[in-house]
């Protein structure tokens, strides 16, 4: 442990004194405040805050990722290339201790830099409303929709496979199956139709939804129903009148006697855009089973459909902005730790430029992994199967940075759950990074340190 610590402190010293880190630090310290002024977004305070957090976080994350790759690769390869390792490895230190020391140094450097920069971003974000002299209404808007961490709950997914199977067999017996479509495509289409049917409501009828595990932290605050209307026939003014009833599910569904209050109001909203209605959080029953019912007003005279993706969800404040922010930083940290291990692995058997290139390629693939995987679906049928059995599994082995992208959550003030953080840490650090590290230690323990010189 002692030797690991000695190497770690030396690595940090190297990164700081060789001005690798200094360049990145200065760049960030200049760019972050500049961005806080220049990022205007859509002109509102919320827009400003969202743009700043989004850009600031992305920039910090990318620069720190690059720094991690460079420092971890450089500190190992330069030791080998400039042969300082001759005098280090012949001291009482095991080779794995040397690598672990380097890794620890890089991680410690990352932790301290992350703390510095996230503090900068956090304080700028908190100071912005005062700096721009925000009005009351603007303040309440950002307090409800930005300085918060809202959990979003979608209605439970419906299992329609049985019904789909029945329809399929019926169609098959009737010989009405479309000829130039594969089985999977027909099934996908039928499933989609079935699901939409479940979320459609005719005029004069009511459609109840059940949401479980709704746990707002403060019953005096509000929760929000976010929805989007789709219609079969567009009304003349493109508006839909709807009566919304929100309360205990037992009351909504079965009309049981309940103690919690019930929200019941009529609203008029335009179609095909997202809207939110504010509901007092006190309507949520203690068991967290919230019922939301929509009554399609007979005046509408059209079927209303809630789209599958973002048709309806319940949002409520589940944690503070600070808590969410810390978890966002943790997501970045797990990414950095993975990259540090990757850098160590690459430099355990590659020379400096090759190792850097190797790491950057992996970094880029991991950043755009869902885009790359998604794009395979658009390649022709035969080629696609070739890819999906060769490259796709490899990409899926890499971590998916975009899946755990913190800005995706911070900008719409979505809650980053501890479950998500644990998943990111577990997948990226505990499994993938550890695996890389073990390979690196093995390779490094058995390779020849000295160069072939005669």
């Amino acid at each position: 442990m002692r030797s690991i610590w000695v190497v770690a402190t030396n690595t940090i010293r190297q990164a700081l004194r060789l001005k690798i880190a200094a360049a990145f630090i200065i760049l960030l310290l200049i760019l972050l405040p500049v961005m806080s002024v220049s990022a205007t977004g859509d002109g509102t305070l919320k827009g400003r805050l969202q743009t700043f957090v989004s850009y600031g976080f992305s920039l910090t994350s990318i620069l720190l990722c690059l720094l991690t790759i460079i420092v971890s690769v450089y500190s190992v390869t330069s030791d080998i290339q400039q042969r300082q390792i001759y005098t280090v490895i012949t001291k009482p230190i095991r080779r794995y201790q040397l690598l672990l020391g380097k890794l620890l140094g890089v991680i410690l450097l990352n932790v301290s830099l992350l703390i510095v920069f996230s503090t900068v971003i956090y304080s700028i974000t908190c100071y912005m409303p005062r700096f721009f002299h925000a009005t009351e209404s603007e303040l309440s808007e950002v307090n409800n929709e930005f300085y918060t961490a809202r959990a979003n709950i979608a209605p439970p997914k419906l299992d329609v496979s049985k019904e789909v199977d029945e329809v399929f067999t019926k169609l098959k017996q009737a010989g009405q199956l479309p000829e130039n479509m594969s089985y999977s495509k027909i099934i996908a289409q039928l499933t989609n139709v079935r699901k939409l049917e479940k979320r459609a409501v005719a005029p004069g009828y009511m459609l109840p939804f059940e949401f479980s595990d709704v746990k707002p932290i403060d019953p005096n605050k509000s929760l929000f129903i976010k929805f989007k209307y789709d219609v079969s026939v567009t009304p003349p003014d493109s508006q839909i009148i709807g009566r919304w009833v929100v309360g205990d599910y037992k009351y909504i569904r079965y009309g049981e006697q309940i103690e919690t209050p019930v929200y019941d109001e009529v609203h008029k909203h335009s179609i095909r855009t997202s809207h939110e209605i504010e509901v007092p959080a006190s309507v949520v029953p203690p068991d967290g089973r919230l019922g939301v019912a929509f009554l399609n007003h007979p005046l509408n005279d059209t079927v209303v459909i809630f789209p599958l993706e973002d048709g309806l969800e319940v949002l409520y404040k589940a944690d503070t902005f600070s808590g969410n922010f810390i978890r966002a930083v943790l997501l970045i940290f797990s990414r950095l730790t993975f990259l540090a291990c990757l850098g160590i692995l690459a430099s355990s058997f590659l020379s400096f430029p090759v190792a850097i290139l190797f790491c950057l390629v992996i970094f880029c693939i991991a950043t755009f992994s869902s885009f790359i995987i998604g794009s395979f679906n658009f390649i022709g049928q035969n080629l696609s199967s070739v890819y999906s059995y060769s490259i796709k599994p490899i990409i899926q082995l890499l971590p998916q940075f975009d899946k755990f992208n913190p800005t995706k959550f911070l900008v719409p003030a979505r809650l980053i759950t501890w479950y998500l953080v644990a998943k990111a840490v577990g997948l990226m650090v505990c499994i993938k990074a550890l695996l890389l590290l073990l390979i690196a230690l093995l390779v490094f323990s058995f390779r020849e340190i000295a160069k072939v010189v005669i």
């Binding site: 190297q14 005098t87 490895i89 012949t90 001291k91 009482p92 230190i93 095991r94």
Partner: protein
């Protein structure tokens, strides 16, 4: 008998990318280095010296055979803790300064901070870098970096010191100092393995040598056994009258032996060190290394290891030991009774070796005679006087005649200490 280093048909073959054998760097090497021995590995460039050291230290894996070092494996931390290694060039972290560099290595050995501090100061003093200990080593010249390289090899007070080309890049004072250090450490019971192609250095310090060529040992044995010419004798005298000389010549010619008469010349090394020492005494400014010829106390002290540590932490460095005799004392060592043409033999054996450091030949009056008598207390006294006079240039010039006398005395004392 136990050996400090032993190799069993150690072989290293470098192969190319396809696994085809390219170069046989070390070929079935069976090497034995005893404890408490200064062993020199000689050989021309590319003869496998450094590769052998790297194999011993586990920096390279042997293709065949194995090596035992201090009774264990060269990559075992427990063994490493007792080894000091100085590679052929000082590979240092550019961004650390001299003191931090030594501190880094000291911490790798897990030395307690007090001991570490004492040793670092003592070593910096010894290698003459104390004044510039806070400069990044990236700005050091090659020789200065070498000195740090030496200091880092000594920081753990090693039982076995492995030196790869210890004197390359060093000025004559540094060279002399390393040689003195090696002798002192050997006196203290340390084992030293050095490899070099500077034959003069090897000749001065090594007990035993092996000459490598093509990865194989071509010759091995005690330096004295290899070089001693039993068919020649040499005698050194003080000032004698021409009459006496004539008589001696007559005596020798009666036995039909060769007779040659010359005055001994000072070695360039000695002259150089004398000049620099004088300048140092006049405190002329330098941005380079300032050699005190002192050797780190903890290295030369003959007490047990525990005691040294105690002493180091309890008392200041300068108080602990009286300063070692200045270099000049070592300088007065001359080849004395050592037969002269040895170097020819050495260079014959190592054909492609780089030219040895110029080493002025001391041509003493050579006469067949009995071996020189061992050093006495009186001679010790003479040595002191010699030192005084050598370090006092004005007096030396005035008393030129006296100097002649001194030179001759010197060669006598030199003989004694060489023996």
């Amino acid at each position: 008998m136990e050996y400090a280093i032993e190799t069993f048909s150690l072989t290293k073959i470098f192969s190319d990318w396809w696994g085809r054998d390219k170069v046989i760097a070390v070929d079935n090497l069976d090497l034995q280095v005893c404890y408490n021995e200064v062993f020199g590995l000689l050989g021309p460039n590319g003869s496998g010296k450094t590769t052998t050291l790297k194999l011993l230290l586990g920096l390279l894996h042997p293709t065949k055979g194995r090596s035992v070092i201090l009774g264990g494996d060269g990559s075992d931390p427990k063994i490493n803790a007792r080894i000091g290694f100085m590679p052929e060039e000082s590979y240092l972290y550019r961004y650390l300064n001299a003191r931090e560099t030594l501190d880094f290595y000291g911490r790798l050995f897990g030395l307690p901070s007090k001991v570490r501090k004492m040793r670092i100061e003592a070593l910096l003093d010894m290698v003459g870098l104390k004044a510039i200990a806070n400069r990044p080593v990236g700005t050091f010249s090659k020789g200065m970096a070498r000195r740090i390289g030496l200091a880092q090899a000594l920081i753990n007070d090693p039982d076995l010191l492995i030196l790869d080309e210890p004197t390359t890049g060093l000025d004559p004072i540094g060279t002399r100092q390393i040689k003195d250090l090696i002798l002192k450490l050997a006196e203290r019971g340390k084992t030293i393995l050095l490899c070099s192609h500077l034959l003069a250095d090897v000749e001065d310090v090594c007990d035993r040598i092996a000459i490598l060529y093509g990865g194989k040992i071509q010759a091995e044995g005690k330096v004295k056994d290899l070089l001693l010419q039993t068919d020649k004798k040499q005698i050194t005298t003080g000032t004698v009258s021409n009459e006496t000389l004539k008589r001696i010549k007559q005596l020798i010619q009666d036995e039909h032996a060769d007779f040659e008469l010359t005055c001994p010349m000072e070695k360039l090394e000695a002259y150089f060190i004398k000049t620099v020492t004088t300048a140092q005494e006049q405190a002329q400014p330098t941005s380079g290394a300032v050699s005190t010829t002192q050797i780190g106390d903890f290295l030369v002290s003959t007490t047990s290891k525990e005691n040294i540590l105690d002493k180091l932490v309890s008392s200041s460095v300068s108080q602990e030991n009286p300063p070692q005799a200045p270099t000049n004392e070592q300088v007065v060592h001359t080849e004395g009774s050592e037969p002269e043409p040895d170097k020819e033999l050495l260079s014959k054996l190592t054909k492609t070796a780089e030219p040895a450091q110029p080493k002025p030949v001391i041509q003493n009056e050579k006469v067949k005679t009995e071996p020189v008598e061992p050093e006495t207390a009186e001679q010790e006294q003479i040595k002191k006087n010699v030192l005084d006079q050598l370090t006092d240039p004005p007096r030396r010039i005035e008393q030129d005649e006296h100097k002649q006398q001194v030179e001759e005395d010197k060669s006598q004392t030199g003989e004694a200490s060489d023996a």
